[in-house]
Structure formats: structure tokens, C-alpha cells
């Protein structure tokens, strides 16, 4: 029982990371019909921004050494700028392009960022120690919970609540939901299209920056392809959850987190290496039963 609870906590914390990533991807998909392959690379940018740019094997912290209250906004700012730049340079000229074209364009952006990071920082993974204190374990009854997992969960809940409040209560949030539902109609009513899209990129950048910090603290290493598996799992989460629904993205994220963790824990040891294959096969099975996802939505952002 304790073992199961321990696994559940792992699952929820991994699910949180996937959910945050999926939320960033889902937000842009809702408004732009863009499946942003480069979202994972925004995460990579945020992580590498912590250290001194060099091709050395050992990483020296730069921004990562600053106090939390300075570091966090700075990393957010850098990732937001990267996200906005990718919009202005690539996606804005493609506003009238079809959804598959946008997806391929984001694949190109991702490839450029990955190789750019590699050019600047070298191809070898680097170890970083962002916040060793976070690995202290807290005892709750018989449960040992790493503090970091609690922090991940809390940060995720705070960000999801903030996003919900933003979308529900603020003028820009309402405009974003309107644009997600019917972009053309929103602009007929004076909603500034590029502003709303820029905002969506910025929010997706902030979500990516949060994942950069949490994930780097947890994994303790950097690599120029680190964002890739996150983005791939988050994509699948978005599809499993139901495309176009933000709740779906979150549900999908947690579902994938639980599937992966439970497979890791309960697969026989000789099959454990095939964890990802089982996870993706399971996803295909889910889609076979529910092609529209777990939280199917007629329009985007329903019931945020």
C-alpha cells in the first residue's frame, strides 16, 4: 500500500510536468491550430539560460546562481522572448497557412533551436546542481515524499489556477477564449489578433519556463534534446485528452504521467526497458476506443 502511494506521488509529479507542457501546447493549438513542436525547445532554452554559454563539459551557473525571486522572472523573460521571436519570424508570416504546414514549420523551428543550442553549448549533456536542498525528503506518516515533488505539484496547481483566473476574469482572457472559439469573429469585434496570439505565445513561454526550472532541478542535467521527450509525451497527452480542450490537456498530461510511472513500477523487470513502447501502445489503444480523446470538445477552451 505504501509502495503504491509512493508510486502515485511519483506519477502525480511526473504528470504535473507533462500537464504543464501539454497546457502550453494546448493553448496555442486552441487559438492558432498550431501544434507547436518547438515547445519542448522553449523548455531547453530556459534550462540552458541558467548556465554560462560555453562548450565546456562542466556547467557553471549564471542566472541559475541568482536568488529565486530574480532568477525565475529572468528565465521566464528569456523563454517568453524566444517564444515571441519564433512567432514573429516564422509563425506570423504563416497566419493563413493550413494546420499541417504550421506543424511542419514548428518542426523546423525546433530543429533550428536544438542545433543552435548545440552550437553554443556543445553536444554533450552537462550536469547542473540547481537546488540540491529540494531533494530533502519529508515524512508524511510512513510516506517519504521528496520536497521537490510537492513543490512541483504546488507550482502546477498555482499556475493552472492563475491561468484559469486569467482566462475567466480578465478582459484579455475573455478575448483569448473568444479568439480560440472563432478567431475571425473576434477580430470583427475589434479583438487584436496578433496581440492575442502574442499573449498565447507569452503564456506558453511562461509555462515552458516553469517546466525548465522544475525539470532541471529534478533531473540535474542539461542536454540540447532534453525538451524533446517532454514535448512528445505532451503531444500525446493533448491528443489523449482531446484536442482543443485545455482541461483535456491537463487530464491527458496526468494520464500519461500515471501510465508511465505505473508501467515503470509494475512491469516485470525484463520488460521495463520497453516502458515507452507500452505507454505509446496504450495511448493508441485509448484512441482506438475514444478517437476524440478523454475530454472531447466541440470548441476550444470549453469549461476551463
Amino acid at each position: 500500500m505504501i509502495g503504491f502511494l509512493q508510486n502515485l506521488i511519483d506519477a502525480v509529479s511526473l504528470g504535473s510536468i507533462y500537464a504543464l507542457t501539454a497546457l502550453g501546447i494546448g493553448l496555442l493549438f486552441g487559438i492558432l491550430r498550431l501544434i507547436n513542436f518547438a515547445h519542448g525547445d522553449y523548455i531547453t532554452i530556459g534550462a540552458y539560460a541558467l548556465i554560462v554559454p560555453s562548450a565546456d563539459v562542466t556547467a557553471r551557473l549564471l542566472i541559475g546562481d541568482l536568488p529565486l525571486v530574480v532568477m525565475t522572472p529572468l528565465i521566464c523573460l528569456i523563454v517568453v522572448v524566444a517564444a515571441l521571436l519564433s512567432d514573429v519570424l516564422v509563425f506570423r508570416p504563416l497566419r493563413r497557412a493550413s494546420s499541417p504546414t504550421l506543424m511542419i514549420a514548428s518542426f523546423a523551428v525546433s530543429y533550428i533551436i536544438q542545433n543552435g543550442v548545440m552550437m553554443l553549448y556543445g553536444a554533450r549533456p552537462k550536469a547542473v546542481d540547481l537546488w540540491s536542498g529540494a531533494n530533502t525528503q519529508i515524512l508524511i506518516g510512513d510516506l517519504r515524499v521528496p520536497m521537490l515533488q510537492l513543490i512541483i505539484l504546488v507550482v502546477t496547481l498555482v499556475l493552472m489556477t492563475a491561468l484559469t483566473l486569467f482566462l475567466r476574469k480578465t478582459p484579455y482572457g475573455i478575448q483569448m477564449r473568444a479568439a480560440a472559439e472563432d478567431f475571425r469573429m473576434a477580430t470583427y469585434l475589434g479583438v487584436r489578433g496578433n496581440l492575442v496570439i502574442g499573449l498565447a505565445f507569452a503564456i506558453s513561454g511562461i509555462l515552458a519556463a516553469a517546466v525548465s526550472l522544475l525539470y532541471t532541478t529534478q533531473s540535474g542535467s542539461l542536454s540540447h534534446t532534453m525538451g524533446l521527450p517532454l514535448a512528445l509525451f505532451a503531444f500525446v497527452a493533448v491528443v489523449v485528452g482531446g484536442m482543443g480542450s485545455l482541461v483535456g490537456a491537463v487530464v491527458g498530461g496526468f494520464t500519461i504521467g500515471i501510465i508511465v510511472t505505473m508501467l515503470q513500477a509494475y512491469l516485470p523487470p525484463e520488460l521495463r526497458a520497453f516502458r515507452d513502447a507500452f505507454a505509446f501502445a496504450f495511448v493508441i489503444l485509448v484512441l482506438l476506443v475514444r478517437p476524440a480523446g478523454l475530454v472531447p470538445s466541440r470548441t476550444s477552451f470549453e469549461r476551463v
Binding site: 478575448q175 477580430t187 470583427y188 469585434l189
Partner: protein, 249 residues
């Protein structure tokens, strides 16, 4: 009286398909102009082009003193021109209240928007009752009212209404027209209304344009066209009316 809107020699193409050709039209301040024509005549394209949603391939559209061709819809809206599109396009997952507020964000002053909001709810008491409902759950007539109210929230000088009677019961359509004409009286709104059939519009419009096959076939004062004969022949062209099912002028 100077023209509020001047459409001059506008052509619109979708790929190889020409949707509008040589369309010219003027609307004076305070007028109610109706564009009638069969399905597929280019009526919606005309309004979309005026509102900035479709870029003309040739021609000019002047609103007030400014050329609006090439402006994005959100900028055209800021000039004081608002479109109620065919099919209403209300934001179904947003509440009625949020739908209305979207129209008001265009203005800097919050107080103004709030006053507009209140004033419109007085005009549309039914919307007030359903203020916190998701707009998608409203009836067709209520949705049409919301679409009109939402457009008026942007404080337009010119309101474009695309087929307000589509799919609605005649009684509801009468109500909508009443409200539109009431708005014109109270707020000095200028109106362009698209319709497929002319019987209702002849009573209310000052002037009428008949559009068919992407061209203006006829224009004139409603009073002069009251017997409907000229409209009928422009609407159907020189072909036999029997080939067009179900559309009676």
C-alpha cells in the same frame, strides 16, 4: 449629405472563382440600405470585404474619410464599422455577458462600456435574464439578438447585418427588425442589411441594391421599386424563375 461608405469598382476572387465584380455602392449617413440577391450572389462576400475580412483583388472601399481596403478587421472595427455575420457566430462557450463585453473592449473607457452594456440590456431584456448562461444554449432568436447587441457594443457608425432572418420564425424576425430600426432612430445608426427576399425589407429600407452573380443588377429607392416587378426581373435575370427553387422575391 456626404456618403458614409463608398464602395468603388470592387472585385473579389477566391482562387479562380470571381465572387464580386465591378461592385460599386454608396451609403449615406443615417440610411438603411438593403442588399438582396439569391444564395451565392456574393452578398456575404460584399459585407466581409467592407469589414476587412476579405481582401478585394481590385477597387477601393472608403469609410468616412479613410480607405479601409488592406486594413485588418480589428482596425476596420475601430473605425466604427461592425458586422453581424450570417449564422450569427456567437461565442457559444462564453457567457452572454462575456459575449457582450467582447464588443466593449474596443473602447478605452470602462465606464463607457459599462453604460453601453446597461443600455443594451434594457433594449434586450431577454438577454438580461440569461446573462450568465453559456451563449450556446440560447435559442436562435436570442442568439441573433445577442449578435446584434454585441456588434452595437463596439459603438459603430455603420452596422452591417448579414441575413438576420435566416432560419428564424417570422415573429422573431419582426422583433429583430424592430430593434434594428429602433437602434437607427435612437443612435443614428446607418445600416446595411443583406436579405435573400425583399418582401420584408421593402417596408423598412431607404434604398435597395440587387446583387446576382457577383454584380449589382439594380439599384434604386425602395419607394420606387415597391411593386416588385423590377426587382423580380433583376433578381432572376432573364432566365426562367422556375429554375430557382424556393426563392421568392
Amino acid at each position: 449629405m456626404g456618403a458614409l461608405l463608398t464602395v468603388d469598382d470592387v472585385h473579389v476572387r477566391y482562387g479562380d472563382l470571381v465572387a464580386l465584380r465591378e461592385v460599386s455602392l454608396t451609403v449615406a449617413q443615417g440610411e438603411v440600405v438593403c442588399v438582396i440577391g439569391p444564395n451565392g450572389a456574393g452578398k456575404s462576400t460584399l459585407l466581409a470585404a467592407v469589414a476587412g475580412g476579405v481582401a478585394p483583388w481590385r477597387g477601393s472601399i472608403r469609410f468616412g474619410d479613410a480607405e479601409v481596403v488592406g486594413l485588418r478587421p480589428e482596425l476596420v472595427a475601430r473605425q466604427g464599422l461592425s458586422l453581424v455575420p450570417e449564422g450569427r457566430h456567437i461565442f457559444g462557450t462564453l457567457t452572454v455577458d462575456e459575449n457582450l463585453r467582447i464588443g466593449g473592449f474596443i473602447h478605452k473607457g470602462r465606464a463607457e462600456a459599462k453604460a453601453d452594456h446597461e443600455r443594451l440590456l434594457e433594449l434586450f431584456p431577454r438577454l438580461r435574464e440569461r446573462l450568465n448562461f453559456p451563449a450556446g444554449r440560447l435559442s436562435g432568436g436570442e442568439q441573433q439578438m445577442l449578435a446584434v447587441a454585441r456588434a452595437v457594443m463596439t459603438r459603430p457608425r455603420l452596422l452591417l447585418v448579414d441575413e438576420p432572418s435566416l432560419g428564424l420564425a417570422p415573429r422573431i424576425v419582426d422583433q429583430i427588425y424592430e430593434i434594428l430600426l429602433d437602434l437607427r432612430r435612437r443612435e443614428g445608426l446607418t445600416l446595411i442589411i443583406n436579405e435573400q427576399s425583399s418582401n420584408r425589407i421593402l417596408k423598412h429600407a431607404d434604398r435597395i441594391y440587387v446583387l446576382r452573380g457577383g454584380r449589382i443588377q439594380l439599384e434604386g429607392r425602395a419607394a420606387d421599386l415597391a411593386d416588385g416587378e423590377a426587382i423580380r426581373s433583376a433578381y432572376f435575370g432573364f432566365g426562367s424563375p422556375a429554375t430557382l427553387e424556393g426563392v421568392a422575391p
